[in-house]
């Protein structure tokens, strides 16, 4: 999420989410902190969404509930937003506007020129934003794929034209800044699919992201080449593929496309199923297939399963766990690096350098990526001739100001993560997550004491544990703990509660070398 502000008017670009890291326990997803935009909501003149991937659209529901500015998107991106908004019952609330690559639009004080970029989804755009302070080029996610699936490469001419006008600043995708060379074309996947399809003795099941419309097209094309029918499985795969077919972004003829129910009645070697779960998510179709808990159909011996994606960092373990479980169920599993069944949608180092040479910006601000990617992008730009003092690596919340053609850093506004947990947005913060970490590490021991007015135990302490011991194995430990607690209560002269907590903690640590959370409640009668 980025905001361009001039003279009390704000243009918002993208409304993405992030997926929680493994140590953000219990968090469903993360949205950006847009407190600044909420405080200035009346100034917002528009929201542009560059393409339909979750990390650029996923927070749209949260945004439209608070901010009522017009939204601009290309037809496919708009379709994906509509699927999402409809599912949340928010589709009637929003002012959605369709734009096309090549359009120029005045949004408040900003003249926005939308230009096509190739990426792993069709209909992605970058933005040339002419502001009174100068021309800013915002790439969005892009690659310079010479042979993209939809035959529509990134608009080199427009980028060159921007440079002829003089570009004040380039905001450019840094995701693959540590990948040397040039990202392979999406077309490179076709021969790998052909090999897999030729060798598969039975069903083929391909897992990918539900928003990877280009991949759906490639799998459908492979199905057609090899005389198979394709069915999409799962809510978002079905909804997105239906929408993309209706809008003409997914070209699958009716004699290749079948429903999952029809597919399951056909001979195994005549079908391809496409579903979600390439990241090892346990609740996805592929996750359920791997654990044998998918209701509709199961993995069977002879199935060929293709994971058409790379693990997102942090997901490797669950992806590989899923692969191992699928093998154990008798499937043959094809994944990168066994076959080139996935390529990245982002520019690699040589493409990033080409972008700099095409756009010739005065300033570079690397965007999209972890800090290590932004820094590496800065290193590449310096090597490509941008003066080091004109490259600014910033993190979320840092305001950058352009005054008289000069860049300077402004104030730092809230730019952190807002955790979404169930229906709670921002209520579960780092302190709650730290409590969850302690619980996850060693569990909890609860001691409930009933005392008479003389401070004597009325009955044996009630001891309940979760995540600490398996009760049946712990008779001895519980017995010794009961005894220690009784003695602590009898001997306590001051704060009984504190005395019992300390006694329990130290006895447990001595016996187990672990430190569960200890809670003690006292009832006085």
């Amino acid at each position: 999420m980025m905001a361009y502000e001039y003279n009390d008017q704000i243009l918002v670009v993208d409304t993405g989410i992030m997926f929680p890291e493994n140590d953000m326990l219990g968090i469903d997803y993360i949205i950006p902190d847009f407190e600044y935009l909420l405080a200035h909501r009346d100034k917002i003149c528009g929201i542009v969404i560059t393409h339909g991937h979750e990390d650029h659209t996923g927070a749209i529901n949260h945004v439209v509930e608070e901010i009522h500015a017009p939204i601009y998107a290309t037809p496919l991106t708009r379709g994906l937003l509509e699927v999402k908004l409809t599912r949340a019952g928010l589709d009637k609330k929003v002012n959605l506007n369709t734009i096309q690559a090549g359009d120029t639009l005045d949004i408040g004080p900003f003249q926005v020129e939308f230009f096509h970029v190739s990426h792993s989804i069709p209909d992605a755009v970058g933005l040339g934003i002419t502001t009174p302070a100068g021309l800013i080029v915002h790439t969005g996610d892009y690659k310079f794929d010479p042979t993209p699936v939809d035959g529509w490469p990134t608009d080199f001419a427009k980028l060159a034209e921007f440079s002829s006008r003089g570009v004040l600043a380039l905001m450019a995708d840094s995701t693959n800044a540590d990948k040397p060379g040039w990202t392979p074309s999406e077309k490179k996947i076709d021969p790998a699919f052909d090999e897999v399809f030729s060798a598969a003795p039975g069903r083929i099941i391909v897992a990918s992201f539900a928003s990877l419309i280009s991949r759906m097209q490639q799998v459908a094309n492979a199905a057609q080449r090899h005389g198979r029918k394709i069915a999409f499985v799962g809510y978002s795969m079905k909804a997105n593929s239906t929408m993309a077919r209706e809008l003409g972004y997914l070209d699958i003829s009716d004699n290749v496309f079948v429903s999952i129910n029809d597919a399951l009645k056909m001979p195994d070697k005549d079908i391809v199923l496409m579903c979600t779960g390439s990241q090892g998510e346990p609740s996805s179709i592929m996750g359920r297939l791997s654990s044998g808990t998918n209701r509709h159909f199961s993995v069977q011996k002879g199935d060929t399963i293709v994971l058409s994606s790379h693990p997102i960092p942090g997901n490797e373990e669950s992806v590989f766990g899923t692969i191992n479980r699928l093998f154990r169920r008798g499937a043959n599993v094809i994944y990168d690096p066994l076959a080139a069944v996935h390529v990245s949608g982002h520019a690699s180092q040589d493409e990033m350098t080409l972008m700099l040479h095409l756009v010739k910006p005065k300033y570079l601000i690397p965007i999209h990526g972890e800090l290590r990617h932004l820094r590496q992008h800065a290193t590449l730009a310096a090597e490509a001739g941008i003066p080091a003092e004109n490259i600014t690596v910033i993190e979320n919340g840092q305001i950058v100001e352009f005054v008289d053609g000069q860049l300077r850093l402004g104030e730092r506004i809230p730019g952190g993560y807002i955790f979404v947990d169930g229906s709670r947005v921002g209520e579960v913060g780092p302190s709650v997550v730290r409590e969850r970490e302690a619980l996850a590490r060693d569990g909890i021991v609860l001691i409930s004491l009933t005392l008479d007015h003389n401070g004597h135990l009325r009955e044996d302490p009630e001891i309940i544990t979760r995540g600490f011991v398996y009760k049946r194995d712990a008779d001895e430990l519980i017995a010794s703990l009961t005894e220690k607690i009784a003695r602590a209560v009898e001997r306590s002269t001051g704060d009984i509660h504190n005395h019992v907590v300390q006694t329990v903690r130290s006895h447990i640590f001595n016996e187990t070398k672990s430190r569960p959370t200890v809670l003690v409640t006292l009832s006085w009668v």
Copy 2:
């Protein structure tokens, strides 16, 4: 851990540990279930350790406490075992025997020929085990590095000689079965280090594994070439480097080697520090440097930090988080793929095929690796001409029997994971981990009620939460919960406990869409 058994005598090979996966909450490490060996401990005639890495030695303390068979290892492997056993106070208990590559030893009914293999640690061996049933070749971890750091390549001649005698079965390393080609030589790292050392304006800090003795040598050599001194930081780095220098496996001259205290007094550009933490472990030196909690010294602007390892699957996120934090503290961080500062110690596909052609076994049993690697190794072997029915992919606990030169599967014995948590070995199992998962996901809500003999509340319920809400933000929720509980108690006609639990669960789910663990205790007065 593998066991070879003949006629009531057992030879054990390796005693490794595994590191817990991200969803094995709170587990410190995993040892193999060796219940079978405990039940047959009197039959064990020897334990051979093939090399000094944790995944082959880490469980040695647990094994020697129970099993008193002689242990055989090469000098460096023995030295690393001694460091470990001494730290645990177990060094006096064990019968350690030094062997050398090239030795032949009778251990019970087994004639064991130790042959050198190159790996990312010196002094690694594979085993030719002549049994009355036939000759078994056990590779251990290996690669066919033509230019290893210690100048000692894998013993091709011995492998070929085995094949001339006829090999019944090959047990071979499968770790890199999905990596095409040939693993680069360790020597390939030297130019990458030279580049880093030439460019570094200040201190260089290299993180790797404490058992990667070859890497220590390479960093020390680079230090010498570039006129820097090297210091090792942290308990295991210091202990292992001292031992390896004493035994002659680490050749660092006294005018290059300095203590960390002396190093910190020298000019920044004259020193290299080497420490642990290349996997992003928060408690390692590099982990503490990244979070600013290392006591002895801190990261400073101008430091060049090299992570000389690949993330083990599952560690990517913490490794990349560590890198980002180090960048934020002003360091320049070099890691693969930015520079070739690490290569794998395991054979890739073409080397695995070469091993098959050299040894020409009748049977192949892939070992070392996840199921996906074992399967891929089987595929490679079939392509290399081993008949499919002579390749057996098995998982832990599966007994394989050779009778009259024919392989058959025996019974399945316990072969699972034993979790080590603090001082508890095997007491924390999957059910406790599942409770921890529930606690980690949504936290816990504890309700403590004091009731009079008529079943009326004597006072307001006591509500304590951990990992569920930040109390100061939750006044409203706690107030409504208090009210619901009071009403539930008053209206309850049967099981008050159960009625309160259900009321609390459903109220919390309605308000937050989350499902914390709910515990209710009742005190009757």
